[in-house]
Symmetry: D2
């Protein structure tokens, strides 16, 4: 009898990049076995895809309802234990809710839902279960992000006074300037994407990252969004002023029209003792700046790192690991939780992170439309 | 008869770093000869300093009034042509005004004055003269900053949609957290420093740089300042949302409590065709990002650079020049203007830049105190 | 019936890092299924390990002979197709040979053998089979290394005149200076490691990389080795002058006592039109230097890359992939070859690369011991 | 009476870049006053140049003999104290010799002479004088190079086991491949340039830098040169194996056909405790690598630096200084020596460095032509 965790996947079929990311991540630590799922809307496509990855067809279901029905009829020892939800955003909520209500553990892509209301309902749903629920803010799986958090918690930088996250991409630029494309792409269609493009897609990462590494809470936001064209309903660029608990202040600068940028996500935190900087495109470096001391550059795999960081590295220093490895670390954390092994709660983002992320999107959009005023983030 | 421009200096005596910077800058292109000045408040100190730099004592004056009196009595061919004002901020205005009124050309340190009103008076004063007036926003003298401007002007990045300047230092951090120091240092004393510390000292550089490289005008600002302690009256950290003409938006992030940062001034501009990035601590690199093309890194001295950039480099590629060379370029530009040689107006910042800088400081402070609202920058 | 390639593994059990690397690499593209192997010398350990990765025990064999016997009795459709050899160096040859003689495809860790003689025998063995044979010079799997090769082949840098590879590590430093350790560690024991430590372990990577990216052949070598202590029989540092075909010259600098270095492998090639540089610790950047043009930095995932490079990237630009992904690309290439799909011969290193690598080690050691003279590399 | 050191200059007229470098360097610390010299071969040119830099014409001499005659007739208190020799290489020796014989202090460009013999004669000449003699290996004036030396001397990296210097340029590439140019340019003409191009021009810098920062002596060399074409008599690329005292080994890799490289001079030293790395194109960073510790990046201006390094920085951290400042530091050191002020002998390179540099060039060329054998460097 296999001891691996039985994993089902919703979405991620065909050439889906997010599907590749999750499949490899799940395979990285010999902890999961994919047993089935619903990979595509069209059942034939789903079956073809399963065949292409050499997965037996009998647990490839035509939809989530069927999956739940059939899996519940299997003995507990065969039933899917974790289901990953990789479908388009608006399906995250109903699917995750149904899964939780039927006793499955859930790994859910971000943004977790499309509204705060949905997020709150999901929180309540989860409270009535024993399930593990993770939201894949992938970047928190990088070892040097974990190290950043642990150093902040250990007091290495003192009391935080300033946080600054930049998340710049350029890929929307050619789209936004093409009248036809900007009115047809689903990313810029509120009915399909929710109320925000840039804040929802990448701003939430910045929000989550700041709270993850600082262990502070963002309490209120004041934002200025840019839609570039009047006929465009979705933000493609946003700057958000932040006020955090413990008197810290900060800023999130995010854009999808920062032409030529790839995925430039940079986080800086300054305390009264030192500062820390991390950059996603070169994730294996963590910069520690102390007044009057040499700049220190920490790298993965060294014993000077925290246990949480070291747990996220597989090879010795100098062998660069990347984003698949970061996601693999999140899957590893979930595996520990599902298997009732001890783990650090910082090994994967939880429903609280997902809910706060939804809060951020809605409040930041509200701030802009009310004339760039401060709006409080609910304390969820 | 010497053909060098006769230069007088106000301030910059003893161990003054700004004095060293200006003296070396003035010597770099064999264009100036320092002939006298008022180097220290105390005349004996001033004389001793003059001796230490081997300057004859007869044109070392006890104060500006004496300098003006005596110099005016010299024949035109011997009289100081340019006077550099390196004194504490509050003296810039009266000194520059007096110099202009008496026919001298002026190089003035930034911030140009302590209020917009002073700046406007100075503008009017200048209009009645034939004098050249330069404000030393030193960073605009770097060749790759000049190249950035020229590329933007040439259309290389298309229509600008986003500007982002970060200027982070950490040196106020140990001061702000020491109750005694923060109540005694002149930098944090409004009577001596004007209404702003961080915005006045480095925020203005960011403001000027954005307008310099983008050729846009910042039209309104919304700021959030941080004073850290209630008994501290001066901002030590500020984030400023920007709206520029031609629909561009942007942000200035500036701090003097970004612990461990040295002088991290980074400017990014994104147009609809490409993006550009420059960093002061590594000033000999200019990054050009174009969607779907390899990142390009431009460096000084290459013939692919603009005339304005090439004029700012003395040695072949690979021989790094630095901040003294940047200031030297500004002095070189002023020398051309004073000598009625042709020059590019972008070779040195003018009184308009100085006035706009004062405008920025006052309006950004006002925005914060009025509750983080948008305030217009006057069109001076 | 599974369509995945049935993979067996020799070695790589327990906490073996090389085992983790190969297992993840084999899983990355949904092409392989591990079906069994001999993971540890001790059969009980092997079985325990198999259980820990959830592998059924019936194809976990007590040794290679048993594996071959039993697998040959299985129908072709169930038999292992590829066997990966991850055992200590001296076992590579006998195991690979036996596997080839019995019709298996082989993925062999480097160095391929311990002597040139063994390598030649293996070459002959292979010629009598239809097997695919790959040597895991992992670094050739990085997309930007592939891009470097393709650009050189396309003529982007012109005729090559200079190659330079540096491979510096520091991990032997604490060992070499400890008399007890340096006489006991297997790495510094010729009976266990062959005739070379530094050249064998990392010098061969440099040799292979130069031939891979330049498409030239290294024809002769002149080396100077460093043993540091007289009682140490193994080189821990080596510099090797190179002469290549087509009049190119070059150098390999390699050390394991470059204290504080992690895994600093840097390759530079200069042609008469341009130069290229790649660095293993930041593998997602390829630097193109052309006289009089801006430095260009190429990154993975962009359409300006060659087909070979693009085939090695899974996610869009800005999502850093790492060394697991590089090894995954080599496994992907082998899968194509085994499945008779079209592939670029540059997708994985072959037995020729392995043999040439052995040649390099022996000749470079010989050069040193004969007084730093030129020794020819056999044209194998 | 001026207290500045009276400086004469030989060469460096018209648009000479080396002239600009020396003039600015001499002006940087208010220590020198240029009083005359011989700037061009043609006296009218020389006078015109003097006028262009606003230098009185009466001490602009038609040749060195005249300069010496006339200066010696001036009272000691007016006579030139230091003369800088910036003429073509073959004139360094006769000019420096004559200057020394007549009691002048000398600053001499590198290479100091064209042969070892000349260098030795110059050494003897100097011994009979009280003159100060400096050779301008400019790069030793960078503050972080000085810091590197001081850290090595303080034992920060332990006993040195490996040195590695790379000096790559690409500017000869277009010349070498043009048959006409390569036979006409003076750089590739042995009659004008001495016996070496690449080793003489930049290899000597690498040699000097290694000895400067390591405080070791290079005892023997084995080189392989590249002339690319048979009709070219001068090396344009060279790799030199090194053996140093105290059992250290190393390598110098140098090229002027490293196409696309600007002035990429990189020095690495590894001891048994740590490693250090410095790069000329980014001269304000010094990398300290210690096994098992975070990488440390030291920068100028911080109090953690040595006195020698701090003396070489004028502004606070974060204000990048460059190559003019490095040369300025060498002039500053010479000024101290000439003025009998206390100074660190490491503040400027001496005649010993110059002689050793000549030794290196001759021996490295000899090694190549004798078939790449080891040649001893004389212990001068």
């Amino acid at each position: 009898m296999s001891k691996k965790i039985r994993l089902g996947i919703l979405g991620g079929g065909s050439d889906s990049l997010i599907g590749i990311l999750h499949r490899i991540a799940s395979a990285m630590h010999d902890k999961y076995q994919i047993v089935g799922g619903v990979f595509n809307v069209n059942h034939a496509d789903s079956l073809a895809f399963a065949k292409s990855i050499d997965l037996p067809s009998h647990r490839v279901y035509k939809d989530l309802d069927t999956l739940v029905d059939k899996e519940l009829k299997l003995p507990q020892s065969e039933r899917m234990q974790v289901v990953s939800v990789l479908t388009p955003n608006f399906l995250h909520f109903p699917m995750a809710k149904k899964l939780l209500e039927n006793g499955f553990n859930v790994i859910c892509e971000k943004p977790m839902t499309t509204t705060i209301e949905e997020a709150k309902i999901l929180q309540k749903t989860l409270q009535n279960t024993k399930s593990v629920f993770a939201v894949t803010y992938t970047y928190t799986g990088y070892p040097m992000v974990r190290q950043m958090r642990e150093m902040v918690l250990s007091g290495a930088i003192g009391k935080i006074q300033k946080v600054d996250a930049q998340y710049y991409q350029g890929w929307i630029n050619p789209i936004i300037h093409d009248a036809k494309q900007r009115s047809s792409i689903w990313r810029l269609d509120p009915d399909k994407s929710g109320i925000s493009c840039c804040l929802g897609d990448i701003g939430t990462h910045a929000f989550n990252m700041i709270e993850y590494v600082s262990d502070l809470k963002i309490e209120s936001v004041l934002s200025d969004l840019n839609f570039v064209y009047k006929d465009n309903k979705m933000d493609v660029d946003a700057t958000v002023l932040l006020r955090l608990n413990k008197q810290a202040k900060g800023v999130i600068c995010t854009s999808q029209i920062a032409t030529g940028e790839e995925n430039s996500f940079i986080v800086k935190i300054y305390g009264d003792k030192a500062g820390l900087r991390w950059e996603q495109e070169n994730p294996n470096y963590l910069f520690l700046m102390e007044e009057g001391k040499a700049l220190q550059v920490l790298k993965p795999g060294h014993t000077y790192n925290s246990e949480l960081a070291l747990d996220g590295t597989k090879l010795p220093p100098g062998h660069p690991e990347g984003i698949f490895d970061a996601m693999g670390n999140i899957y590893k954390g979930v595996a520990k939780a599902v298997s009732n092994e001890p783990y650090n709660p910082a090994e994967f983002p939880t429903i609280l992170d997902g809910t706060r992320g939804m809060n951020f999107i809605e409040k930041a959009v509200e701030s802009h439309h009310k004339g760039n005023i401060w709006i409080k983030i609910e304390n969820t």
